[in-house]
Amino acid sequence: MQPYLKLDHIDKTFTRGAASTEVLKDINLTIGKGEYVSIIGHSGCGKSTLLNIVAGLTDATMGCVLLENREVNSPGPDRAVVFQNHSLLPWLTVYENVRLGVDKVFASSKTRSERDAWTMHNLNLVQMAHAKDKRPAEISGGMKQRVGIARALAMEPKVLLLDEPFGALDALTRAHLQDSVMAIHQKLRNTVLMITHDVDEAVLLSDRIVMMTNGPAARIGEVLDVPLARPRRRLEVASNPTYLKCRQRVLEFLYERHRFIEAA
């Protein structure tokens, strides 16, 4: 496998005055092009911090992030983020929210009408073209997240970063959106790094699952391959022995070996 995105010996320590907390310790991870990798762990283990480091929104204390063998340490559209709480700008319409990124990324490479077409193409991809003139407050949570995904995809990122994208949604909407993300991944073959705390979600969507130990100083505990053929269908996969075995492995890791003590 050709390394595409590489996390090289990443440490992260938050310092506040004299006190310092080590959040991440020696994170090494290599992701191939077109791969869908999930990071799973209990809340507070630093998975969002890790994603922010990859996105460039937070600096690593030690180590670096390499994308196509080049170090990246500031945010950019090549690593577009879908934020947990959608983060759409409430004063812009759905279309304008997506267009904002398109206008910046393709300022010189696309004409005005091409940018318009590209914005609409991405809204169509997430089935949100019908609501293009609505404002975020006028659409449902699931729809907002769809627009968030469209905004990220429209920047044509090398890596798509999903920060618990379905966390704030109800179960039915979540399932629907997971299917959409799978379909989009199938079609575009983009490289995805997703943070989640949902075991089923991780197994269903991922090629590999990275399991993190509890903080402080969280490490990568185990990496699990999910050798399920794509395209995967929710109902068929649910009774598939491989699926069940993977699910079992993740559950064992999270609830036996690295039980979250504070949650008890």
Binding site: L57, P75, G76, R79, N85, L89, W91, L100
Partner: protein, 298 residues
Amino acid sequence: MSMPAMKTEATAVALPAASAPVVTMTPKRAPRAEKYLKMVRETAVRVVPPLIVLALFLLFWELVCRRVGSTLPPPSRVFKDTKELIFDPFFDHGGIDKGLFWHLSASLQRVALGYSLAAIAGVALGTLVGQSVWAMRGLDPLFQVLRTIPPLAWLPLSLAAFRDGQPSAIFVIFITSVWPIIINTAVGIRNIPQDYRNVAAVVQLNPLEFFTKIMIPAAAPYIFTGLRIGIGLSWLAIVAAEMLIGGVGIGFFIWDAWNSSHISEIILALFYVGIIGFVLDRMIAGMAKIVTRGTALN
């Protein structure tokens, strides 16, 4: 809204197609009449109670001040005395002997100028203080002290500096209304959610784009709160300032009326000052509503 529409449909379905053109017209008109009736009713609900209170107040005032030897004139007397001023606000007999329109417009011009400067400077300084920790540490304590200085206390100093009434009055308006604009803008900028900053970082907006596309819209509700407080304060300050600087202006008109013992004219002027203050406040509120419609929804 949907109720009348449904009713129309129901009627249309229920009726046989016998005399179609006449019958379909009737239900179409009914909802419109209903709509107008509803509009009239809603307006009445808002307008009638204050009118009743106003009428009662005028009656009370009339009864109290009617006696011989009362120090203030009753409303009927005020109207009789100021009829000329009310019905001809545009006369100009030279000097300060002008109609109320000219006095009010002179005051409004000063406010417009001073307030516009305050709005520009306030938003700019507020952005600086909200965005930069060091600017806040340096400037905020200064602002907190300066903003407590009463508007009129600035007047002698500005007269000394400008040596003229006109710029001094404008300066007083400026210095009165700038503080709430600065402080509210700074709070608004500081409260921009980290998410929006992250979005801007990922999209790689440059500082100017960040200012116009993220900061100003995100802080708009706060900025308009400041602007609204500011316009109220400047209208408060202009009357007091004009009393001292003289010349044409509603403040000096009131002072002049007092000196000539035209109590009725003072009352009329107060009425206008109140109405205009109210209109100014509504104008800024209306502008805020239009500009922040997206932000306020969330």
